[in-house]
Subunit: 447 residues, 2 copies
Amino acid sequence: MNALAAPRVLPIDVDLLVRPEWIIPIEPAGVTLSGHALAVDNGCIVALLPNDEAVQRFRPRQTLNLPGQVLLPGLVNLHTHAAMSLLRGYADDLPLMRWLSERIWPAESRHAGPDFVHAGSLLACAEMLRGGITTFNDMYFFPEATAAAAGRLGMRAVLGIIAIEFPTRYAADADDYLAKGLAIRDALSGNPLLSFCLAPHAPYTVSDKTFGKIATLAAQLELPVHTHVHETLHEIEESLAQFGVRPIERLRRLGLLGPQLIAVHAVHLDAAEIDLLAHEGCHLAHCPTSNMKLGSGIPPMATVQSRGMNFGLGTDGAASNNRLDLFQEMRHAALLAKAASQNAEALDVHAVLAAATLGGASALGLEARIGSLLPGKAADFCAVRLDEWMLQPVFDPASHLVYVSGREQVTHTWVAGNLVMSGGIPAKIGSSELLDLAGLWHTRLTS
Amino acid sequence: MNALAAPRVLPIDVDLLVRPEWIIPIEPAGVTLSGHALAVDNGCIVALLPNDEAVQRFRPRQTLNLPGQVLLPGLVNLHTHAAMSLLRGYADDLPLMRWLSERIWPAESRHAGPDFVHAGSLLACAEMLRGGITTFNDMYFFPEATAAAAGRLGMRAVLGIIAIEFPTRYAADADDYLAKGLAIRDALSGNPLLSFCLAPHAPYTVSDKTFGKIATLAAQLELPVHTHVHETLHEIEESLAQFGVRPIERLRRLGLLGPQLIAVHAVHLDAAEIDLLAHEGCHLAHCPTSNMKLGSGIPPMATVQSRGMNFGLGTDGAASNNRLDLFQEMRHAALLAKAASQNAEALDVHAVLAAATLGGASALGLEARIGSLLPGKAADFCAVRLDEWMLQPVFDPASHLVYVSGREQVTHTWVAGNLVMSGGIPAKIGSSELLDLAGLWHTRLTS
């Protein structure tokens, strides 16, 4: 009788209806839905609604039932150097400056040409898609090679327009880096999965003059600025000796602070600096594994959160992590904040799930397009199975995503409505090609 | 010609010859071997030797070639509450005392009978074997039910003779706990895979009188003593208020310090306490994930290591972790020590591999039987595949075990020469039984 009484509306054709056990939409915050479906059409999310309404309202060309699985927005890797996957485990257990100057920079100066960047980015994009990451914010040389790799695999990428004062195979000086990056941006401007970010490497490798140009470009072109800052105490001491101020104060004087700034790492922040960054609307790219592994220290994330500063999560490059795995970063963010603050309530599971999705999207200025499962946003999402015996019992799927399951439980990853990973391997590349690429570069790097 | 010139010795029959890509024997320390084989007979390691010698010296009933894989000793979980796997994710993001008194203890008082302990221990043992753990040191009620679960799955276990002052379904008072535990020890004394450990719960739940009895029993029966201590600042403050001294000083006065003591957690240690524990030959069970998750703090492991104190790694129970995964604990131990000491060289990969194997074995007094791949020891070991595309490239297998691979890459686990896990599931239990057990208890715990 109710069926007759209900308004009679013809069902709408859609590309896909996904019916998992649970959905964590991120917006609204802290919610886990059961018995709901996600409708996708033309690359976008059309609706998130109860199953019984979904079957009335939609006539899907494909329906995917995912019992025992949880659906969440695609993860956003807010800071990485994708191509460095080829240097995974190349040097360990060394502090940042020795690791960079004795091991990483020499290897890069010998090897990091466009072919290295393309191969490393393919491996990195494959690894990230495998683990539910749909968007990454990259900083490296030859970004056009990274764009090509992401494009082939159907992944969303934010490419860094890198600037550094010393010459590499990619560019001769800071102006050359900026010119090359801006030219790549012009050449690739039509690609809906690509956007760009100004990426001055760090206060210790970029001059005031170059930072000034970047502030101007950021305002003119409305681009985010993404820079390593306050990563180590050593960096701060050097800045005090050379410039008489800490790097964040130097960036403030140069006009860099504002909602366009993504402060990467920001391990060492005093209370005034947190207040300043929060007041200016800056974002923080928290990379807990890299900060721990390089012995950089422990960022005060519980305070950052309580002051209302937006933050996302980053893997950093595989050379300092050594995984491109945001499930790991979510777990490490939650655990490290609790350990450092001696407060088990710091960064709860919903806070880190939000950081790994909407936090990263907001930092990149992409919150209208990605980062949650709101209708109208791009259909970037992933499915994670929680029904394996080793994960039982499940009292709270959100808790399990952070503390129990891992990227190995991601079964499907979609970008803009396209199924770009299932069955443990990206749709557009095979394991043998990935193994061959890694093997080739392993040989070159060790010969 | 060399073959003719070599001494002609008839090959010896052995049960098994394993030929992996790499072997990390733990003894000698810091070594990764290539082109070597492990010969196993009658449950014991017979030889670790170059492949060409192995084929001359041995005629194996079975040969297992494992290209792309690394062999290492079975991991030793130095502190867990196996049965609490049924409370995995039952309560998160709460500090220790609230987590215990509001959530865990009420659930245990309602549910933790022998059937709960047996089911939870089956799930825990299965999870541990899946991840290369061959021995666990347990502290829980109804240890005979845990022994039965470990026995069924062929796992090596050290059972805690638990003591606590308050009554539970298991026992009425401290004397009753000790009497029950000792009776179980007598009943199970013939099992070569079982040993025992006195397990007073913690300084805040055990009286001086009971600690005194335990010191006497430890000396009489030559048993290790395994207790939570200095886990939180709150515990230390309470002890100062009640006893006028910190818990470690209280244990010293009660005669508990010595090579038999396994100090679990020991998060908060001043320099004098580290020196005292090291001088007395005490061992530390480091549980980094649990310490972080409960907001207990960060133990000074870099200092513990530099003072030469032995330590192993523990998962704690699944309720405060939420995985029983020593690959995760190795990674967290390495990362957290570096973060806290701001020294990337602290706890390098070989140090954490040793802690997860020989360190735990030594703490339990089992270093003559397990913990490394020395000939004569029991054949407890596991194989980990490093040839998946997502883990490439591999420059150093030891680094990959700590920073890249996970328990999901463990392909085989052997205990006393028996293959107790392969293909992702223990030999003696199926996934449907494990899912049924977890489902049943999930229903009971949420009804």
